[in-house]
Symmetry: none
Subunit: 418 residues, 2 copies
């Protein structure tokens, strides 16, 4: 089944709110095996709404509208679909009851405009609103299916999950469901990853392989249609296996989690503690780690040694390493190593990581923007130091540096000795 999502609301077109409803509905459709080919946003305007419905009807079997079910004059969605399908608006008695009860319970007089929220389209299957007042609509007209849902996410989500999904399953009863598997990669760029599996991407038909990237992470989604989970696994597993064969050392999770979560999980499993010494990332690395609830069990804390004075005072890096003719400098392998080792000793953590580099916009110590050194010190062995040359602006360099440290930490934690 092909679907189009139409979000109705001028506030979306003004950029006052972000269209999270489209994401929610798309994700739910994907998990039901419904293909969403277009999302549209249109304002609270009758003629443009009619236009959008006509375009959607020509290219989709299912039109899901969200928003515009409220009590005010500019809530037009039900009227628009009634007009579009040549049907009348009628009162839904249970919805009317729900609205009257709402006002009685609160002891406030009901404004007549609220009755609009109990209206539904003639011949439809009304959808109850357990968390608000506006009734939803599910309707099949001339071979096209319509779902009209409220705009507020707190009303939309339960209405979709509890009432729209059973209705969708009933109208889709002859279609095959969709299954997918996610693999998350770090330590490799999107284009380099794709290059290494280009033959697989080009040859794909079933299952399909879809890559997408954030800074420092790449996701692959492997998707197939099948009648049962077993049949789906049979088709998906050989692809997953081949991806592990080629790129296994970059796969840090089989679900959609950030790299820092995989790291915190491993630290927790292995009962190891971590501390950080950051220069150019300025706290970003510890911020990523502590953004996860539960990180306090493994993360001791760290030092943001932004100035050389603090590198010396707090981390005991000798001044003649940091400054002066012929000194390695603050951005160097020596400093990265000492930062990691000394913050580990200072905090008593099992593992410590460090970052020092030139985030830009201008060079520093006559070293180029994007030059970054990272260090990993741990209680069981030699300190690991790596030199990176990163591209991008200040923010990208900081972000990539932090993600790269997490990647090296994740690799270290894979080792059996740790």
């Amino acid at each position: 089944m092909k679907a189009e999502i139409i979000a109705v609301g001028t506030e979306l077109l003004m950029g006052q709110i972000v269209n999270t409803n489209a994401q929610f509905l798309s994700r739910q459709c994907a998990s039901l095996g419904i293909d969403v080919y277009f999302q549209t946003v249109v304002g609270d305007n009758m003629s443009r709404l009619q236009q959008a419905l006509q375009i959607a009807k020509d290219r989709a079997d299912l039109i899901i509208c969200t928003g515009g079910l409220g009590p005010t004059q500019d809530d037009l969605t039900k009227e628009a679909v009634a007009l579009f399908t040549g049907r009348a608006l009628v009162m839904d008695p249970p919805a009317l009851e729900n609205i009257k009860r709402f006002f009685e319970q609160r002891g406030i007089p009901m404004v007549d405009s609220n009755l609009r929220q109990a209206q539904v389209i003639e011949g439809c299957h009304p959808l109850p609103n357990d968390t608000g007042l506006a009734a939803g609509v599910s309707l099949t007209d001339g071979g096209t299916h319509y779902l009209l849902l409220p705009g507020p996410p707190k009303e939309l989500m339960p209405m979709f999950d509890n009432y729209a999904i059973p209705w969708l399953r009933s109208v889709m009863k002859d279609e095959t469901p969709l299954f997918s598997r996610i693999l998350k990669f770090a330590g490799i760029g999107e284009s380099s990853l794709e290059h290494q599996i280009l033959d697989m991407i080009e040859a794909q038909s079933d299952p399909t392989i879809a890559p997408y990237a954030k800074v420092g992470e790449v996701t692959l989604r492997i998707t197939t249609k099948a009648l049962t989970l077993e049949q789906a696994e049979e088709k998906i597993m050989p692809v997953v296996q081949e991806l592990y064969n080629r790129l296994g050392k970059y796969i840090y999770a089989e679900e959609d989690v950030p790299l820092e979560k995989a790291v915190v999980r491993l630290l927790t499993e292995k009962n190891l503690t971590l501390s950080t010494a950051e220069s150019c990332t300025g706290g970003l690395l510890s911020e990523m780690i502590t953004s996860l609830s539960g990180s306090s069990a493994v993360f001791k804390g760290g030092v943001v040694s932004y100035s050389n004075a603090l590198k010396h005072q707090l981390l005991q890096i000798p001044m003649d390493v940091l400054e002066g003719e012929g000194a390695p400098g603050a951005v160097s392998d020596v400093t990265a190593g000492l930062m990691a080792e000394n913050v580990r000793k200072l905090t008593g953590a099992d593992i410590a990581v460090s970052v020092t580099g030139v985030a830009g916009p201008t060079q520093s110590e006559n070293k180029p923007v994007g030059l970054v050194y990272i260090g990993l010190a741990h209680k069981n062995g030699e300190t690991f130091i790596e030199k990176l040359q990163l591209n991008g602006g200040r923010e990208a360099i900081r972000y990539r540096s932090a993600k790269h440290v997490l990647y090296r930490l994740w690799r270290l934690l894979q080792k059996s000795g740790m």
Copy 2:
């Protein structure tokens, strides 16, 4: 001018990411006086992309595409618009140079597919990408204007602000220009701010007053159409004056800068240095400060004392303050004050700030989620301590805490003695 925004990417239709680009572009268009009547999302599919372009061309003067400029086979936007306008794809030499330099600097071989990112449409005005590799396109063809922009927000936003806006202004030169003034507020919530200027918002016609909020900051944009800057100022200034009369102590900037930027500027002007001691914010505060280039002149660094052990070892907070029966605990006014005072002494900074609190999801020390103490210590006076009870989830609490510290720091720096 009427615009349509087309976001290209199957990941949007699968619900894997939310379409924040449409919000950003809609908001920018609104501030330029461009009316957005439709937003569309289409997948990485040539025929559906052609369809979407045709529909947009029939109803808009300006088509803004975002996404699909990357190196991979499913990045089709430039090809699609070239086909749609009957133009060829050509290499943009500066973009090519940028890509080659990227790979040379990193010392990794360039995959040929990366060259695709240097392609632009024949006869267009290419838009440089300062934060990534894919060149953008601005083009006027047959009376329709096209902007092709990258999908990653970190590339899209600077390209739009620095290169697309000047181009848009040049193609809109015959329209009555729009002028706007921005005021940025901190230390006050959006609804409380709106409540205090409700009469102004309800009475507005020209200029218009549009509020929008991020966590910890509120922006008001005051906008009017006028033939000259002088005429615009005449209409805007009385509104700005009235806003200062009512809410002056919350206005930290007259341009769209984050609060941390206003703070770093004041520190720089007054030649003062800063350090931080963070517990519940876990590095977020120092990350916000160091995200600004130039912060290294005033920010010495700090300590992320996430565990009690580190509060004691690095910040010399006595253990009997932190733990034990009847002790104030890690989340207390005493600890917040000592964290600020001791990190200031440790680092030799002129001013130091601290945050300690319960970010959640569960309570700590039998104290409720959202309880946060902040401290400000400085060389010229008593330490300031404030207790906050914040709402929201873990992320919101951390973010609001950091922004509140910055607000108090900004207020302190306003004082003449500092």
